[in-house]
Amino acid sequence: MKTLFRPAPLALTVAALMSAGCANTTSPDAADSQPATKASVVEHYADVAHAGYEDALITAKALNKATDRLISDPTEANMKAAKEAWLAARVPYQQTEVFRFGNAIVDDWEGQLNAWPLDEGLIDYVQADDYQYELGNAGATANIIGSNSINVGGETLDVTNLTPELLANLNEIGGSEANVATGYHAIEFLLWGQDLQGFEAGNGERPVTDYATGADCTNGSCERRGEYLDAVTDLLVSDLEWMAAQWAPNASDNYRSQLMNADANEGVQKMLFGMGSLSLGELAGERMKVALEANSYEDEHDCFSDNTHNSHYYNGQGIQNVYTGDYRRVDGSLVSGPSLSDLVAQANPELDARLNAQLEASMDALGMMKAKAESSQNPMQFDMMIAPGNAKGASIVNGAIMALVEQTGSIEQAARQLGLEALSPDDAGHAF
């Protein structure tokens, strides 16, 4: 078996095309009554993605309404409601991250929604002596809210009108990935503020008066802060509308139709590639191991709100969803259909059972992290777990890492079992 294979950044390679030919799109009804095929599994994958992005959109609209209320009536209650809406919006969105890896259309788009870590001094005031920004980032202290024009690396920009388009164009200004002007984490910062607690309990403490009018306004530029929050939440909604439409059924010119018209093996590769990449390199590696081994709360994912445990938990849930084909929607209904699990079980029931058990074990480990962080007695949040010398915290994080590492091994085996060889990394952009 000689595989024409190049390592990163090139594509997945199909060594042996085991299944017969192309994906003829089957209707969900027909698929329900027949054994799962690669084509029906890929179609259901698109259904799960569509439901996930619809849920992300529904909760983003609720967030947009809540922030509109906060801006027009900045009370503690409205601040609290806006924060709760943000937390709720993260639940479905984090489950969609598994679609990023392998689907270039998602990966190219998601930076505007979920880029991190960010140098928040680009957006608003920060306490300078406890603010570490990306080396060489000329925009790290630009403070868009604080003035009508900013200078980044010698370039002066008019930022008087804080429109969604303007903010989108400010992403990665000056060539730095840490210049994130939009998305969930920008909104998170606008609601919670800078987390100055380090490894201690507690998160950002932005006062609601940062949105007050007149003399009550704290930290200046309250009106512009409100305009920023308004624009950035509007942008989130329109971005999610676009992505939900890409996965909608019965359209002839969206991403889903491309996926359905391609070889079903490509779709199955994307599914496994997304599961493995998120499990190992991204979630276990970048989001947990780095933060833990360097005791770096700067590498904490949702650092302003201390919601990192949920981001990790729902990332893991998204991986399991893709394998089992089950997705619990925000309204409580269950989406289910032909799954990767069905396909693997047809070929190797033992492997299917093992991978299902490993996915369950990962959810248990991530669930323990979530439970500890949300415990009513002595809660230990992710940034406390990674503190130097916290052996108990480290063992919780390590437990989750090891569970994810184990499931990745079986994901690779599942790929081989289904006739897909060499799931090499960084495929984005090469498949379509």
């Binding site: 078996m1 000689k2 595989t3 024409l4 294979f5 190049r6 390592p7 990163a8 950044p9 990023r100 890896f101 990966d107 870590p117 570490q132 920004y133 990306e134 080396l135 060489g136 990665e172 000056g174 060539g175 730095s176 990935e177 840490a178 493995g276 990449s277 998120l278 499990s279 190992l280 390199g281 991204e282 276990a284 590696g285 970048e286 191991k289 780095v290 081994e293 360097a294 005791n295 770096s296 700067e298 590498d299 130097p388 010398g389 590492v405 990745t408 091994g409 079986s410 994901i411 690779e412 085996q413 081989r416 060889e421 060499a422 799931l423 090499s424 990394p425 960084d426």
Partner: protein, 349 residues
């Protein structure tokens, strides 16, 4: 942003690879001879790291006992020698170097958020005694070459009240270099102890080849293409390179290629020759020399080469040479030997 030094080595533990399949018909452990050679060549590299680490620790201790400008320069030189010794064996991403994240302990990188500076400031401000235990519990950003480099080379830091030979800073330098030396010594010892295991399992042949492949890939993509602005957002930035404070990013690349040539290539060439690929083995050996011919001319700071378009050409020709080497090893040779990669830590964003 991804740290490729983190390797879980999944593929090696789950795959029955073609290389092993091909040797299964031969007498037991057909590739054991190559692993003997690799084990010995890598041990030489690790022992050099252990020795240079000891020299660094002694030099730092003696400088801090009796500070002098000469002692400061000698400490920098000792840091560089030890750092380059690490670069030579940096590609090995399996075995004892995985124990307690030793690779990260030696070199936590990349560090876009400047965690090294933050940790140094925290440790020096805190005023708590700097002990070996304190270093051990302070995380990988404190424990290795980048921290010692920060203390010795960082311009802003060197202009501050905490600059060497300030008492607390000296203690930090002495303990960090001691930690590096101890790690180097343990790594060399553990590698010796790993011998039976390594020789006894055919899958380590693939694992060793994959580690060299990953080392070359990191060299090409992360250590060179990224600061050159050929990847990601297209911005040239020396801060994306490692060792920018000491201006030794390029010298370190040269050392890594030299290390692969010394510790990986000999057994690899023989393996290729035995697989009826002597021409390819010869091409790869020549390409190593092509890359190394860029040095020592390129043992110079990278920042000025990024700032000047005509000087940038020097980087471009190094890049082309390394790309060709990577392509020969990772594409052609790996395909001939049937070595495939699974998921690794670089799969994130």
């Amino acid at each position: 942003m991804t740290r490729l030094t983190l390797t879980f080595l999944l593929a090696s533990s789950v795959a029955v690879t073609p290389l092993m399949a091909a040797t299964a018909n031969n007498a037991d452990g057909a590739t054991v001879e190559y692993r003997k050679q690799w084990h010995s060549d890598i041990l030489t590299g690790y022992q050099n790291l252990a020795t240079q680490g000891q020299t660094l620790a002694s030099q730092a201790a003696s400088y801090c006992q009796t500070p002098s400008p000469e002692g400061f320069e000698q400490s920098k030189q000792a840091w560089l020698e030890a750092f380059l010794a690490w670069q030579q064996v940096r590609f090995v991403d399996f075995g004892p170097v995985e124990h307690r994240n030793r690779a990260w302990q030696f070199q936590f990188w990349p560090d876009p958020k400047n965690l090294v500076a933050r940790k140094a400031s925290y440790l020096l401000k805190e005023g708590a005694p700097i002990t070996p235990e304190k270093i051990s519990e302070s995380g990988v950003a404190v424990q290795g070459f980048p921290m010692a480099e920060y203390l010795l080379y960082d311009q802003a830091f060197n202009g501050s009240d905490s600059a060497l030979p300030a008492d607390h800073t000296c203690k930090l330098l002495v303990e960090v270099t001691r930690h590096i030396a101890d790690n180097g010594q343990s790594l060399a010892n553990d590698w010796k102890g790993f011998q039976a295991n390594y020789l006894g399992s055919d899958q380590y042949t693939d694992t060793t080849i994959r580690s060299a492949m990953a080392g070359l890939e990191i060299l090409e993509e992360r250590r060179l293409a990224t600061p050159m602005g050929l990847r990601g957002n297209g911005k040239r930035s020396v801060y994306s390179a490692d060792a920018w404070r000491s201006e030794t990013s390029l010298a370190a690349m040269g050392a890594s290629v030299q290390g692969l040539k010394q510790s990986f290539l000999p057994a690899f060439s023989e393996l290729l020759a035995e697989r009826k690929q002597p021409d390819l083995a010869e091409q790869i050996a020549q390409q190593f020399d092509e890359v190394l011919a860029n040095f020592p001319e390129l043992e110079r700071p990278m920042a000025p080469l990024l700032a000047d378009d005509s000087a940038y050409k020097l980087l471009q020709s190094l890049y082309i040479d390394i790309t060709q080497l990577t392509s020969l090893v990772n594409d052609r040779a790996a395909v001939e030997l049937g070595v495939v990669r699974g998921f690794n830590s670089s799969d994130g964003d």
